[in-house]
């Protein structure tokens, strides 16, 4: 379907692999271009995910892959935060071993039904989950009632990252997982996310899909069109960002001073036999070519 569209437009196939947002390259020159009312929320994306709101927690539903990816996302965040000092808390005592995120104020942007959010709370975090879709937030709130352990440390809001930033909120940890590929302007969006990270060592976790021929084949041709593991139209290939592009955007963000730096990029993959997600080892060529995690730390 996607191919047909590009062909009728007489677009060279190679253009597919160029980023959709010209401003990525203009970033170094101008980072202060946004108007105050500008929103990175893509209405059609929001309605797309609102439609499946009821399916967030169905075990074989359209977001099944997200559920299977979640343990790896959590173990990645755990690993990156292990024994690191954030604010006044050090996550190393024996008690914290079982609740590694205790004492951390965390934000999950694009929380959907709360798949990641709930897990962060269970590991001790004080978490706010935000999503642009009111439907998602309703589902997330309903689902959170099903587990008493979440009570008191979890809050959901239907709000955008930009608005939160304007309210002057900051967090020890900001997660924006599997969301950058769904927003209108990733540069602006990432600036808002980055601004929400507490200065002086707060963390930003990102997870997205790279823009390569392989990722096109796997995430669009196979996952969406052929095997229909994810609903068709979930992804827009041109919105994918390569890790180097993402790193460039983040490291070029300027508040008064330089924002911070990327400290880790990890490629991940889905084992088709065990249907488990795993970190890709270093020897795999093109390990960043499809899904990857990225950690950045604010100075």
């Amino acid at each position: 379907m996607f191919l047909k569209r590009t062909i009728t437009k007489n677009v060279n196939i190679m253009q597919l692999f160029k980023p959709k947002y010209a401003c990525i390259h203009a970033l170094t020159r101008n980072t202060e271009q946004s108007s105050p009312e500008y929103s990175t929320i893509n209405e059609s994306e929001v309605s797309k995910f609102s439609q499946i709101a009821n399916e967030w927690w169905s075990p074989n539903g359209p977001v099944k892959l997200l559920h299977t990816m979640n343990p790896l996302r959590i173990s990645y965040i755990r690993e990156q935060l292990k024994n690191k000092k954030i604010g006044d808390e050090v996550s190393s005592s024996s008690y914290h071993h079982h609740h590694p995120f205790r004492g951390l104020r965390m934000l999950d942007i694009g929380c959907g039904g709360g798949v990641l959010t709930e897990a962060l709370v269970r590991l001790g975090g004080s978490v706010i989950g935000v999503d642009a879709s009111d439907e998602n937030i309703k589902i997330a709130k309903l689902h959170a009632k099903k587990d008493p352990i979440l009570h008191g440390n979890l809050e959901y809001q239907c709000i955008t990252a930009e608005k939160l930033l304007k309210q002057g909120e900051t967090f020890d940890v900001v997660c924006a997982m599997e969301i950058i590929e769904h927003v209108n302007n990733p540069v602006e969006f990432l600036k808002a996310c980055a601004g929400l990270v507490k200065p002086g060592g707060g963390y930003l976790f990102l997870s997205t899909i790279s823009r390569t021929p392989l990722s096109y084949i796997l995430t669009i041709l196979l996952a969406e069109n052929t095997f229909k593991i994810v609903p068709q139209g979930t992804h827009d290939f041109q919105k994918y960002l390569r890790p180097d592009e993402l790193q460039k955007i983040i490291e070029n963000i300027k508040n008064d001073d330089k924002w911070g730096k990327v400290i880790d990029i990890t490629g991940i993959g889905l084992n088709p036999i065990t249907s488990k997600w795993c970190k890709l080892p270093d020897w795999i060529p093109g390990k960043f070519d499809v899904n990857y995690f990225l950690t950045a730390q604010r100075i």
């Binding site: 008690y95 071993h97 004492g103 099903k146 008493p148």
Partner: protein, 511 residues
């Protein structure tokens, strides 16, 4: 109950999210969880939610048999589970005081014994159970002989010179169960496991009327007990045996069939001049008969045979029984058939005489000398018992918030001594999966997590069930071509060490 379940918002109406967290983390460090539970319950005892909080569990295990109590013990031993303050309850309908108070009596053995594979023993060591086993009642064996009742083709497994250690350990079930309950007791201080024995499960249901505000526990299984309590649980474990009520509640079918045979067990007194170090099994056309070493002078017998014969074997006189067992291990099929024909008749022959002269004739005519189990001299009073044999496998081991382990999930023919070992492997796997779920912040009742348990155990169990069932069928016939083929197979296997080593590994529970 730990503080995690407290509805903080009831206590502090206008707080901000993170004040609560600070408050509760200070609290957590200062007070022991039990104190907090009491404290909290005291303050809100008039409220309806106190009852709810008291009876919310993370894991409820139905069935306190060996698998169920081993799971409780494994959970109590795990720092990941106790560290994250998981609440566990285990419900057993019978009174366990006789198991808790079990003491071995010299020269007397229970008729119910199990053979533990090296893997099961390792697991017991890991969760602290093995240290509590009565040491003088453990019989490891390195030597096993299995032979065909019709052709006498034989396969010998011997681990004596391989350095791998014993093939298996024979223990009375009482010894195992006693050690588990004792270990569980030792973990009492550091874990939150409630052992409720003498308590029956009245009903399992989902409590659809949501009275749990501010929570919604309508999809948590609710277990109603004979003491009037209702336990709501994040994860319900069915360790409740072949007719598992938990499995019925989950609406999971159990597939399989009943073998047309019963097992007769007994504790035998055997010739104490022979070193008792070998497990023996002879495949008779009616089913296998096995003799497992307990100590010098004592062995345990499991004889699977037709229901009709089983009844006669159980009720015949002890004296005749002893010689029938000797005949079943040592004489040719035709001779054994003669013994069968004499069963149940008022005027039967002298079994001892019959056995002795037939054995004498047989050894004079035989060109080769085969090894036989030690001669049986007597049987311990009141140890003859019987039960029907079945094969079952649940069509699934999991449902949302429900998981089956042990006999509730699968039942196997005892000929390879694998039933309990499979159940313990289930428990071991479930522990690993729950720990993994806790590390990753998952809800431990989540079906996505439980799938990891079922995908690992379902395949392993069905393999074992299949192999054992085929063995039973293969040796359950007297058709000459099949007898010839299987005897040829046994002889080939016996001379082919690499394959024999693989069989041993499989039977020993290696991955």
């Amino acid at each position: 109950m730990s503080l995690k379940y407290l509805p903080n918002r009831i206590l502090f109406q206008n707080n901000k999210l993170f004040n609560i967290n600070l408050f509760s983390s200070i609290f957590r460090q200062q007070y022991h969880k039990i104190n907090i539970r009491k404290r909290y319950l005291a303050t809100v005892s008039s409220s309806t939610s106190s009852d709810l909080l008291e009876n919310i569990y993370d894991i409820v295990i139905v069935g306190g048999g060996i698998s169920g109590s081993a799971l409780a013990c494994a959970l109590a031993s795990s720092s990941k589970i106790t560290g994250s303050q998981k609440r566990v309850a285990i419900i057993e309908s019978s009174d366990t005081s006789n198991i808790k108070g079990w003491k071995p009596i010299k020269g007397e053995f229970s008729n119910r014994v199990s053979s533990l594979t090296p893997r099961s023993v390792e697991f017991f060591k890991g969760i602290g159970v093995w240290q509590n086993i009565e040491e003088e009642r453990i019989k490891p064996f390195k030597d096993m002989q299995v032979w065909d009742g019709i052709s006498d083709a034989r396969i010998k497994f011997n681990n004596e010179n391989t350095g791998i250690g014993p093939l298996a350990w024979i223990l009375e079930n009482y010894n195992i169960h006693h050690a588990i309950l004792r270990t569980l007791d030792q973990y009492k201080e550091d874990s939150d496991v409630d052992f409720l024995d003498n308590t029956k499960v009245q009903k399992i249901s989902f409590d659809k009327e949501n009275k749990d505000e501010p929570f919604d526990l309508s999809d948590w299984p609710c277990v109603e007990l004979s003491n009037g309590k209702k336990l709501k649980t994040r994860l319900l474990v069915g360790a409740d045996g072949i007719n598992s009520p938990v499995r019925s509640f989950a609406n999971i079918d159990s597939l399989g069939w009943d073998y047309n045979s019963h097992a007769v067990v007994a504790t035998l007194h055997v010739d104490s001049n022979v070193e008792n170090k070998t497990a023996w099994q002879r495949f008779l056309p009616t089913g296998p008969i096995a003799m497992l070493p307990l100590q010098n002078g004592y062995s345990s017998m499991v004889w699977s045979t037709t229901p009709n014969l089983a009844n006669k074997i159980r009720s015949m006189s002890s004296n005749d029984f002893v010689h029938l067992v000797n005949a079943a291990f040592q004489l040719r099929m035709a001779d054994l058939e003669y013994f069968y024909s004499q069963l149940g008749d008022g005027e039967s022959v002298d079994f001892q005489n019959e056995f002795e002269w037939r054995k004498d004739v047989q050894s004079k005519n035989s060109n080769y000398k085969e090894e036989f189990p030690p001669i049986v001299l007597g049987v311990q009073e009141k140890t003859r018992a019987g039960f029907p044999l079945r094969m079952r496998n649940a069509e699934s081991y999991i449902k949302e918030r429900i998981v089956l382990v042990g006999d509730a999930a699968h039942t196997i023919h005892p000929l390879a001594g694998q039933g309990l070992n499979q159940g313990l492997a289930d428990v071991q796997c479930l522990l690993k999966v729950i720990e993994q779920g806790i590390i990753n912040g998952q809800d431990i009742g989540d079906i996505n997590l439980l799938r990891e348990y079922s995908s690992e155990r379902y395949f392993a169990n069905i393999m074992m069930l299949g192999v054992v069932d085929k063995l039973h069928k293969l040796f359950g016939t007297s058709l000459t071509p099949i007898v010839l083929a299987r005897s040829f197979g046994l002889k080939v296997l016996d001379n082919f060490d690499p394959i024999k080593a693989e069989i041993m590994k499989f039977a020993m529970g290696a991955e």
